[in-house]
Each structure stands twice: as C-alpha cells, then as structure tokens.
Amino acid sequence: MLQFLLRRALLAVLVCLTVLVVSFVLTRLSGDLAISIAGPNATAEDIATIRQNYGLDRPLVVQFLDWAAHAARGDLGSSYLYHAPVAGLIADRLPITLTLGLSGLAIALLVAIPLGILSAMHEGTVIDRGIGLVALIGQAMPSFWLGLVLIIVVGLKLQWLPISGVDTWEGYIMPAIVLAFSAIPALMRLTRAGMIDALASDYIRTARAKGLRTARIVLKHALRNAAMPVVSVAAVQLGFMLGGSIVIEAVFALHGVGYLAWESISKNDFPVVQAVVLFLAIVYIGLTLAADMMNAVLDPRLRSA
C-alpha cells in the first residue's frame, strides 16, 4: 500500500512537470510576449526594455527553470497586469470557483445517482429509455448557451434568481446548475451500468433471501458496490468542472479563478495563465489520487491488497 502510494506520488510529480513544460513551451512558442505586453503603440525600445525587465531575453530553458524553481518555493511570480503576486490573486478568487465547482458536483451527483439507480432498476423499460434520452439531451446542450437561456428565463422573465454576480448565495444557483449539467450524463450512465451489474449479482440474491426490504437492498448492498467507478469519475469530473468553470464564470460574470484566467489570457498576463494551468493540473492530479483512496475505503479488497 505504501509503495503504491509512493509510486502514485512520484507519477503525480512527473505529470505536473510535463504539463508545465508543455504549457510553457506551447504558450512561449506561440508569439513574442514582450510585443504583446508592450501593446500596439510601443516603440522597439520599449519592447527591448520590457524584454529585459521581465527576463524574456534569456533562453527559454533558463526562463523555465527560473520560473519552476520559484514555483517550487511557492513563488508563482507577479502579474504583469495587477502588479501583485499571482498566488494571492488566485487565492482571492479561489473561494468562488471552489464553491461553484463543489455545488455543481453536489447537484450533479444528487441528480445523476438517483436517475442512474432508477434507470438500472427499470432496465429496458420506458423509464430507462426516458432517462437515457434526458442524458443525451444534457450532453448536447452547450453549457454557455444553457446559461444564457437560464439568465433570460429564470433571471429576467421570472425574476427568481439574480442574473449575475454572487453577492448572495442565490447567485450560485444558476451557474452551479449549468456546471452540473455537463457532468450529469456521464455520472448517470456509470451509476446505471454499475447498478445493473450489482443488482444481477449473487450477493443481491442473498440479500433478498434474507428478506431485506428493497430500499435496503438497493441503497446499501447494490449502491455501495456500484459506487466505486462513480467516485473515480466524480473526482475527474470535479477537475473538469473547475477547468470548465472558465466558461460559466464568463457567462455569469463571477470573478473566480476562471474569470481571472480568461482575463489574463485576453491581456497576455502570462505568469497568471501559467500559474492557473499549474494549479488546475495539481488539483486534477490530487483529485484522482483522492478518488483512489476513497475507493480503498469503499472496497475492503483494495485495502488489504
């Protein structure tokens, strides 16, 4: 178990490094940062000064190593735009994105798991097909468009919820629903498949032979065994949601990490972009690791292996 964890941790570090190198190279090779930073009216002299001030005249490898060395010590550099430490900028905006991501995941699970269970219990019937259709529709819905439609209908016409911003908790409802929408189909299909397998298993027959009630059989005996793949995918989906919240935050004008990233990309604020990429990659890797540990808790066979 310990060896397994060490291996995983080593792999995680390697993945992080690779993601960083790739994104660093991708963005740096794409154009001359100094020109972008200086803006359209800058003289050649301005650009040269900027290049020197930001250290952009050094070889790419040196720039990267310098950045990585600082990042390893927790120093993610300063924003060109805000002239403030990047770490602080991210930390300020993190609560919004995290709230959004977690509530989105919660909604997704609350919808997807019951639907998946229902679908599995009525496999092949009209109910099953109907739920499958809902999943297909959810999958085809462009999330930013769904957001706009909700803003028009729920925010403007019905006036039930605020249109943008998160001054009150109600502001999170629509964005969280939209974010959840994209994760529901995958989670639902997975719950359904797992439950179909579990419900057909011998231990469910044993549970029925004991005379247990249907609710207990489904929720205790079957769901527990169907939950493992769902946990893995839920973790991955949360990672995708945090990354995908950039679109939702733009639609609902929420000033979270995604919005910061969007802004930084549009304004060539390279250190911020690089830091957010690193941050999201670490979060993603951490989440998959956490999912593995959750599964070890759920499945006693993994624990003793």
């Binding site: 993601v19 790739v22 706009l148 549009s266 993603y284």
Partner: protein
C-alpha cells in the same frame, strides 16, 4: 420499428440535413452572410411581429441575414468537427495501438501521456494557445486536434489489448508478417467499430468546444459566422431579442444531439460495448 431505430434514424436525418445545408450554403442562402446593411439591423424572424419574408430568421446587429449566417455556420461546425477528429484520431489511435500492442515500457509511456493530457485543463490551454498564436480556423482545428486525442488513445489501447491475444494475430506473427502490417491490416480493422463510436463523441465535443472558444472571443475570428460567435455577438441583445441567441443555440444543440444519436445507434449496431 423500435425506439432505438427511430433514434438512430433521427440522428442520421439531423446530421444529413446539416451536412446538406452546409455544403449547399452558397446556393441556398438567400443573402451574402457577410453583407452588412445598417438600415436593416435586428429585424426579428419572419414568424414574429415586425419580421419580414426577406429575412426568414431575421438579421443581426450589423444587418446581416441570420439564415444565411446560420447556413454558413453549419460549414464551420462540421469542418472543425471533422478536421479536429481526424487530427486527434491520428494521434490517439497511433498511441493507443502502440501501447496496447507492445505493452511494457511502450505502454507505460502511452499511459503517462494520457494522464498528462487529462491533467491539462482543456479549455484554458486551448484559449491560451489561440490567444497567443492568434485566432484563425486552422489554429482552432489544430489546437482541438492536439488536445482531444485522449479518448481515442484509451479506447484504441484497451481494444488492441483484447485483439492482440486472438488467434489470427498470432497466426500473422507466425507467418512472419511485419509489425506495421499486423498493426495496420490485422489490428486496426478489428478495433475500428469502437473507434467510429469514439469519433462521433469527439466530433460532438469538438463542435461544442469550438462554440465555447468562439463564444469567449478566442475561437474562429469575426466576421466568420460560427454559431458560437453568433451567440457571443447576440449576447448584448438577448434581453430584448432572445431569438438572436436562441436560433444559433438550438442549431448547435440539434446538431450535437444528432451526432450523439448517430453514435449511440452505431454503437448498438456495431456492438461496440458500453459508452465510455
């Protein structure tokens, strides 16, 4: 005829109609999609008050004919979807088959690449690249193609592993066939049905992502009539004229739904297992 067949038929119909609309756009579009007419701005669709038969779907904020833009937009969605799938398919299938067939170190490297790819925040990196390189159709296609290969790789890898142990592969090996021959002539055709299903999923995803990128202003550049861009441009007017975002949004939704229905139907027919 079962529900399943109806769903598949609907998928074929939708994709077929959009395809025809896109291909024939120059011939069936009533107007030039780029022609601005500031005297004819924000005319609502024909069926609404103030609409005119001249512009069946109305006009946008620059007075461009919405139906014509929608028809040309179909080309962009389909073009980007197809090219991105071809690019990502080439990368993903190659990696997946190599990993699945050779196993061992090669497979370790492939798995590592897949993990890395999944750890890269998709939209963020796509946006960054487009922002720094400059937005154009080619850049969007290449960016999406370089980022969406993970599912191809995963499916190609697992199916290749299953196929590898089968008798005819062993027979080909025993007959002294070259590795390239075995991989391209024996392995690939046998995993193709699974990959076709992945291709439909990825195409739907690529079309949605293009729309999202264009919506954020970092996809295909204006004045190209991308559906995502049309939604972005209509956003400022949506409170008074909701149809400016409804029309391209519904088009996008229907096309993606059609592709997904098509993929589901293909999966059932080809017996390509459960949806990943």
């Amino acid at each position: 005829m079962s529900l399943r067949h109806i769903a598949f038929g609907l998928g074929v119909l939708i994709v077929g109609v959009v395809l025809v609309a896109g291909v024939l756009a120059p011939y069936i579009a009533p107007h030039d999609p780029f022609a601005q007419d500031l005297m004819q701005r924000m005319i609502p669709p024909e069926w609404m008050d103030g609409g005119s038969a001249l512009h069946p779907f109305g006009t946008d904020q620059l007075g461009r004919d919405y139906l014509s833009r929608l028809l040309y937009g179909a080309r962009i969605s389909l073009l980007i979807g197809t090219l991105a799938v071809v690019t990502s398919g080439l990368i993903g299938i190659t990696l997946g088959i190599l990993g699945g067939y050779f196993g061992g170190r090669v497979d370790d490297v492939v798995m590592f690449a897949i993990t890395c790819r999944l750890s890269i925040p998709l939209i963020l990196v796509a946006l960054t690249v487009v922002a720094f390189v400059g937005s154009s159709l080619t850049v969007v296609v290449l960016t999406l193609g370089l980022l969406l290969w993970d599912r191809f790789a995963v499916v190609a890898r697992t199916t290749t592993m299953q196929v590898r142990t089968l008798d005819y592969i062993a027979a080909a090996q025993a007959a002294g066939a070259s590795r390239l021959h075995i991989l391209s002539r024996e392995v690939l055709p046998n995993i193709l049905s699974h990959l076709v299903v992945v291709a439909t999923l990825e195409m739907a995803l690529a079309i949605l992502l293009e729309a999202a990128l264009s919506f954020l202003g970092l996809g295909v550049p204006p004045p190209l009539p991308s559906w995502g861009l049309m939604i972005a441009e209509g956003k400022d007017y949506m409170f008074f004229s909701p149809w400016v975002i409804m029309i391209p949004g519904i088009a996008l939704f229907v096309l993606v739904l059609g592709i997904n229905l098509l993929g589901d139907g293909l999966r059932d027919m080809l017996g390509a297992g459960r949806r990943p």
